[in-house]
């Protein structure tokens, strides 16, 4: 299942809303969505907070496979190349610096050496490093309980 960025954005807004109880300033709330949530909550005789909690619980029950973001041609190319190389049984790290220029390195250290050279030759302003393997979504736990973002 893929989640559209707009939906992910709304969910973040909802989370911000809940965290807002602890004094977080809210930004980028979609007014139309908020109005609809408020109207539906009123119809059901519940508060907006309760509605948001229900929506979040529902969302948490569903597996997250990926989130679509803005198109990034370097990342798209890295993805295509990684899939192709993986199918061919090749291993290592891809360095993509432009549509026509990409390299396969055996380690991250080798990627850095290559990027240093390209940077000295003024050939790059940006690069993407991608390991040749299927892409997965990774979640990491931050221990601060949210206080580090306030």
């Amino acid at each position: 299942m893929e989640i559209e960025i707009s939906r992910y954005h709304y969910i973040l807004v909802f989370v911000n809303f809940i965290v807002g109880k602890r004094g977080v300033f809210l930004r980028n709330i979609d007014e139309e969505v908020y109005r609809e949530v408020k109207a539906r909550a009123a119809l059901l005789g519940i508060t907006v907070s309760e509605a948001v909690n229900m929506a979040l619980r529902e969302w948490l029950r569903k597996p997250v496979v990926g989130v679509k973001g803005k198109r990034d041609y370097l990342k798209d190319l890295a993805e295509r190349l990684a899939s192709k190389y993986y199918e061919e049984g090749r291993k290592g790290f891809l360095v993509v610096v432009s549509e026509r220029e990409y390299y396969l390195c055996s380690s991250i250290e080798e990627c850095v050496v290559l990027l240093r050279r390209l940077y000295r030759e003024k050939k790059i302003k940006r690069s993407i490093i991608r390991e040749v393997k299927p892409k997965s979504v990774r979640f990491i736990e931050v221990g601060g309980g949210g206080i580090e973002v306030i």
């Binding site: 973040l12 989370v15 965290v19 979040l56 948490l60 990926g66 989130v67 973001g69 990342k75 890295a78 993805e79 991250i108 250290e109 990627c111 850095v112 990027l115 240093r116 940077y119 790059i124 302003k125 940006r126 690069s127 993407i128 490093i129 991608r130 390991e131 892409k135 997965s136 979504v137 990774r138 979640f139 990491i140 736990e141 931050v142 221990g143 601060g144 309980g145 949210g146 580090e148 973002v149 306030i150």
Partner: protein
Amino acid sequence: MKLFERYDDSLRPPAPVVTVVVANPVNDLRAEVKAYVDTGFSETLLLPEEYYDKLSLMLTEFDEDCYAVHGGFFPARLKIVIVFIELNGFRKLIKAYVHPYLRKALLGRGVLNMFYLYLKGPEKVLELEVP
């Protein structure tokens, strides 16, 4: 060699911090970062977004889908970058994480487990030794 660093007194209660140097391995831009010790953070170094531009970390961006989960439920999408971390004679190439909403840098177990750390709470001093 041992390193001694005072806790950050601006927080209540005071919190242990470690000042590390973060360097871009491609263009050698560097910055001193005051990172809070966070044994609940499972990875290496979590940086506020400002360092992404300041150190031109778009040069070493690693393509991986990664989300930080705060307090068990608040997800935020992270950028992953390759940087050098330097501390008291120690230097290592690591994957660091750039967080869009973070205001304080965090040093997690991925780095902390490389050192001997002694938290002298009553003196509000952190003692760190690179083995």
